[in-house]
């Protein structure tokens, strides 16, 4: 088999809704605070005391039939050989066509400079005694603290103002034969990741064992993120 088709299966029974994936993703991909490449839908139904709470982790579905790719006028949003839906910042004109096209709300546009706090803030809450954001990043010589430079291998380390950004399944890690960071960071091991072309891969086995579901099947997007079992 030559090419791969990466996919993820999320075991909702194992998931405990802790958001470690969301936070770890921010750390790995230098994502602005309120962008959620890794995200979740939460739902409370019923009436006390018969209440049901559900948590559905979400991320880019890396759709086989990706509307963001179809509607991107410059091929900035594109499918890779491995089935990833990737974004080339060098081609992005920031038209947001991908964003309006995505039924899952997983694409974010940098309407302003990302991480503004670390760009300019020189104020201290106790002058002379506490630090400033500028001191921190200048001292560390990084654009933001705990900046992960490995992200630069395949994407802008931090995506500049004007363009969109989204989950890449950590393609920079895949290139090193490592799982996406959310997969590694999930303490419940609820994320099963691998090559869907390989019938022996963990996600394929999980799909065969359970009845997988996808988000918004009626959109015909053919997501590569599947859900099994119940939260």
């Amino acid at each position: 088999m030559t090419s791969k088709k990466y996919g993820m299966v999320i075991d909702l029974q194992k998931c405990v809704g802790c958001a470690a994936c969301d936070i770890a993703c921010k750390s790995e991909n230098n994502v602005p605070d309120d962008f959620h490449w890794s995200n979740h839908i939460i739902e409370t139904t019923g009436k006390f005391p018969d209440v049901r709470y559900r948590y559905v982790p979400t991320l880019c579905n890396h759709c086989e039939n990706a509307p963001c790719v179809r509607n991107c006028p410059t091929t900035a949003m594109h499918k890779s050989e491995d089935g990833l839906t990737l974004h080339d910042p060098d081609l992005c004109i920031g038209c947001a066509a991908c964003q309006v096209s995505c039924p899952y709300g997983v694409i974010y546009r940098n309407n302003e400079d990302p991480h503004p706090r670390w760009k300019t803030d020189e104020t201290a809450i106790i002058p002379g005694c506490t630090a400033t954001a500028q001191e921190v990043v200048k001292g560390l010589n990084t654009p933001i603290p705990h900046y992960n430079a490995e992200r630069e291998a395949t994407y802008e380390g931090i995506r500049p103002k004007g363009i969109v950004e989204k989950c890449t399944f950590c393609d920079h890690r895949l290139a090193q034969d490592k799982d996406p960071w959310c997969v590694v960071s999930c303490p419940a091991n609820a994320r099963i990741f691998g090559d869907l072309n390989d019938p022996k891969s963990p996600p394929r086995r999980a799909l065969a064992k359970h009845s997988p579901r996808i988000l918004q099947p009626e959109k015909g997007t053919k997501p590569k993120v599947y859900y099994i079992r119940e939260f």
Binding site: L12, D34, F35, H36, N39, H40, I41, I42, E43, T44, T45, G46, K47, R54, V56, T58, P67, V69, R70, N71, C72, P73, T74, T75, A76, L91, C92, I93, G94, C95, A96, A97, Q99, V100, S101, C102, P103, G105, V106, I107, Y108, R109, N110, N111, K161, G162, I163, V164, R213, L215, Q216, E218, K219, G220, Y227
Partner: protein, 316 residues
């Protein structure tokens, strides 16, 4: 029991009023162009000032629309990339390519209209040749929204039809009102006789306009029908759009922009020559202005309403 669902994504609308302005001006420009081409075959050589107005207006409007589109882009200076790629699946790509072609072509066409009497064969052939480009640009304005199945309000056939009819009504209205200003500035509306003459010359235009409006109203009705009686998501999307932008859509877009002008237009057709010239001129001005205002708010309501917050789809 109403489910209580939260999903914190980036706050919309992702496409804001600037897109509506682009659609509005672009559509009107295309409408104006097609009107010019059409009239150049109908009107006699001596009466083609209105063609001239329309031909000049077309590129101006489309360029204006493009400017707003550029404003909307995160990185407008990267726009040229569009021309280096081939992305037939993307209406925006088609739009980029064909709007540019159209701007160049329509300027060329307008330049041939430096003299109102110059609408001879060459000009008419050029107009015909550019017509498919214009139609594509017009259709693009609808397709842009219609292909996005993430937004049920847009994702319909009538979206495209309404866009095409929309460019007809707003384009004509824009031409009429501009031409009226132009005629007045040139003193051609100074005496009743000349006014009557002027009105005669534009009466075919008026008739096309009334027809387009009737069709437009019908399209909107079908649009509403398809959503109201469509899938659950269609209904929810319609409801959400209505909740946030219903007033704008129905009162400004439909009543003010369609029903009132249609009424005025119908009145004008019925009363015909009997009405006072001055009143007829004023009616034309008012009707055109209302169509333009309504046409803009109609688009704004559709652009924004299509992105209104719908119930969050989760795993079923």
């Amino acid at each position: 029991m109403e489910p209580n669902v939260f999903y914190q994504t980036q706050a919309g609308p992702y496409w804001d009023w600037k897109v509506a302005v682009d659609l509005f001006f672009g559509g009107a420009g295309v409408g104006a162009f097609l009107l010019a081409v059409g009239l150049s075959f109908v009107l006699t050589r001596g009466n083609r000032r209105v063609c001239q107005t329309a031909a000049w207006l077309a590129p101006i409007l489309v360029v204006l629309g493009l400017l707003f589109l550029l404003l909307k882009l995160g990185r407008p200076h990267y726009l040229l990339l569009t021309f280096t790629k081939f992305v037939p699946t993307s209406p925006l790509w088609w739009g980029g390519i064909f709007q540019t072609l159209f701007v160049i072509g329509s300027i060329w066409y307008a330049l041939r209209w430096r003299n109102p009497d110059s609408g001879e064969r060459g000009t008419r052939i050029l107009g015909l040749a550019l017509t498919p480009v214009a139609v594509i640009v017009g259709a693009y304005h609808g397709l842009l929204l219609a292909v996005i199945n993430a937004r049920p309000v847009w994702n319909t056939g009538p979206t495209v039809v309404a866009a095409i009819l929309g460019f007809a009504t707003t384009g004509i209205a824009a031409v009429l009102i501009t031409h009226l200003v132009r005629a007045r500035l040139a003193g051609r509306l100074a005496d009743p006789e000349r006014v009557a003459d002027w009105l005669d010359r534009i009466s075919p235009v008026r008739n096309i306009l009334v027809g387009a409006m009737v069709l437009q109203g019908g399209t909107m009705f079908f649009w509403w029908l398809s959503l109201r009686f469509g899938s659950l998501q269609d209904m929810q999307a319609l409801e959400a759009a209505n909740a946030e932008y219903g007033t704008m859509f129905w009162w400004l877009g439909v009543v003010l922009g369609l029903a009132v002008p249609l009424g005025l237009g119908a009145l004008a057709v019925v009363r015909g020559e009997r009405a006072h010239h001055r009143l007829r001129v004023q009616t034309i001005a008012l009707t055109s202005a209302l169509i333009l205002i309504g046409g803009f708010f109609f688009r704004l309501a559709v652009v924004l309403g299509g992105q209104a917050d719908t119930p969050i789809p989760t795993l079923s």
